[in-house]
């Protein structure tokens, strides 16, 4: 059952995961495993969150036989199917579980160490598993054929299709969404939008494993640039010196009208100064007479394309739509990085104003409250009002 670990020849490139419900034990094992020279040792205390992980990203995974929300043996079986090259060590309190653990794909079963000496001994045994294996070259024998990702994107866009390109390279994987012939969104753990797109298409020089799938759920749009410009930028990014070089327009955003700006400051600076006595335009919507809005200083709603839908007392409709859309997109990036669904609500506290944004999969409502006159109850009433009306 022994198999070469990913990056087995260079432990400093490897990551390990300790999956247990016991915080103290997890932290102790993290300390011990760090002595093996692994690049990083992660801890996961929640089995349900662990199910969302990509086990193939780890060279080594330690799993408890008993987890709070799940049978560790079942999780081992699931992970083993997803990550045949990863080394799995099952930790249990009774040797009876040994047979089941090995049957479900464990490379090693260890009784739970009770003290520092036991942990040290356990880590020595685990370290032996991480020794470079002669057949390590066999690890990639079943790899799918590599294709030029740029060609796949161009084909998808030219055909006007809506497809999801699932891209894999070694331990990385990412998604590129093409909707009606436009690159709509890109993501991989830790990044989304154009920055994710540039990274993904440059993995392995653009030669990657690609699966094309039908789109079932359309995520919020994070990319506005035409696909040819994106591919051109990506090629330029690849030739920039330094591994982490970013293209110059990482903060590329778009207003509903199609204007592109680099940052909030640039956007504000682009607005022409008002003439003396001139009033800024006011969102031309009547203020609803709902009680929940009586304490709201101003509020408005944008759809997921960033276009203003309605509102009251918000100065400069374009500006209101822009700032709401900007925050929404940034929180979409955070959601991707945390591998969560999109945010439902953000509360921003300031000395003068408090702001509340409420989102669903159709739009975002944004309200301003005067801090000195607003209570949490009043903000909650606004959130309830949003939910009742539908965002």
């Amino acid at each position: 059952m022994l198999r070469p670990a990913p990056h087995a020849t260079d432990p400093t490139m490897s990551q390990a995961l300790v999956l247990t419900s016991h915080l103290d034990y997890a932290q102790a094992m993290r300390e011990e495993l760090a002595s093996l020279g692994l690049a990083r040792v992660d801890v996961e205390l929640d089995a349900l969150r662990a199910v969302q992980l990509r086990p193939q990203a780890y060279a080594l995974i330690l799993i408890d036989t008993v987890l709070e929300a799940m049978d560790g043996l079942q999780l081992l079986l699931l992970f083993r199917q997803q990550a045949p090259a990863t080394i799995f060590v099952m930790i249990g309190d009774e040797s009876l579980a040994r047979t089941s653990a090995i049957k479900n794909g464990a490379d090693l079963f260890l009784e739970r160490p009770r003290d520092a000496a036991g942990r040290k001994l356990a880590v020595e045994k685990i370290g032996a598993l991480l020794e470079p294996a002669e057949e390590s070259a066999a690890a990639g024998a079943e790899a799918a054929p590599l294709v030029a990702i740029a060609d796949q994107i161009e084909t998808g866009c030219l055909s006007g299709d809506s497809v999801l390109l699932q891209v894999h390279h070694e331990k990385e994987s990412g998604d590129i969404f093409i909707h009606n012939g436009n690159v709509f969104h890109a993501q991989y753990p830790g990044r989304s939008g154009t920055a994710a797109f540039y990274d993904i298409v440059n993995w392995n020089g653009g030669l990657l494993e690609v699966r094309s799938m039908k789109i079932h759920h359309l995520p919020p749009r994070t990319i506005e640039m035409p696909y040819r410009d994106l591919l051109r930028q990506a090629a330029a990014t690849d030739t920039l010196p330094g591994g982490d070089a970013q293209p110059p327009d990482e903060a590329y955003v778009s207003l509903a009208g199609g204007t592109t700006v680099d940052s909030v400051s640039d956007f504000l600076n682009e607005a022409p100064p008002l003439a003396a006595g001139e009033q800024p335009s006011i969102i031309p919507f009547p203020r609803p007479e709902d009680a929940a809005l009586l304490n709201v200083h101003a509020h408005w709603k944008v759809d997921l394309t960033g276009a203003l839908v309605e509102g009251a007392k918000g100065y400069d409709p374009d500006h209101c739509a822009f700032i709401t859309s900007f925050i929404y997109r940034k929180l979409a990036d955070v959601a991707v990085a945390l591998e969560l669904d999109y945010f439902e609500r953000i509360t921003l506290w300031g000395q003068e104003f408090q702001q509340v944004l409420v989102a669903d999969n159709l739009g975002v409502r944004h309200a301003l409250f005067e801090s000195a006159r607003t209570t949490e109850t009043q903000r909650n009433e606004y959130v309830k009002w949003c939910r009742e009306r539908g965002v």
């Binding site: 995961l17 915080l23 997890a26 932290q27 990083r40 992660d42 801890v43 996961e44 205390l45 929640d46 969150r49 662990a50 992980l53 753990p189 830790g190 990044r191 903060a251 909030v264 400051s265 504000l268 700032i323 900007f326 925050i327 940034k330 929180l331 990036d333 955070v334 959601a335 990085a337 945390l338 969560l340 669904d341 999109y342 945010f343 439902e344 609500r345 953000i346 509360t347 921003l348 506290w349 300031g350 000395q351 003068e352 104003f353 408090q354 702001q355 301003l368 949490e376």
Partner: protein, 121 residues
């Protein structure tokens, strides 16, 4: 700072936390979940851009709570630092106040001070 974050990791509901020293240095972090410090720094910096945007709007804020279902990201900026906590819990003002009642003394021992909560929330 390592011991401070070991203590922060033991707070109930804590999934992960990170402290960024300006401009973008990870001064400390912890995770009871498989989240890398690089990922936490990315999330914190992304949230910082929201604070920058509200400041540009002349409606500055330096404390925020973002609800993702039953989980919450709490961000606080001040004193040249940005602190982010990722919690396995919904939050209201009482939870945010409780969180910083726990975190502030721990970070203060490391020389990290934020403005008093009553001036932020």
């Amino acid at each position: 700072m390592k011991e401070a974050f070991e203590e922060i990791a033991r707070l109930p509901g804590m999934i992960a936390a990170v402290l960024i020293r300006e401009p973008d240095e990870v001064a400390g972090w912890c995770a009871n979940s498989a989240i890398s410090p690089e990922n936490l720094r990315f999330i914190a910096e992304t949230c910082r851009s929201i604070f920058s945007a509200t400041a540009d709007e002349e409606r500055p804020s330096n404390l925020a709570a973002v609800a993702f279902g039953e989980r919450t990201v709490v961000i606080r900026e001040g004193g040249g630092y940005l602190f982010l906590a990722y919690l396995d819990s919904p939050t209201d003002e009482a939870v945010v106040l409780w969180l910083f009642e726990q975190v502030d003394p721990i970070l203060a021992l490391e020389g990290v001070f934020f403005e008093p909560m009553e001036e932020q929330a």
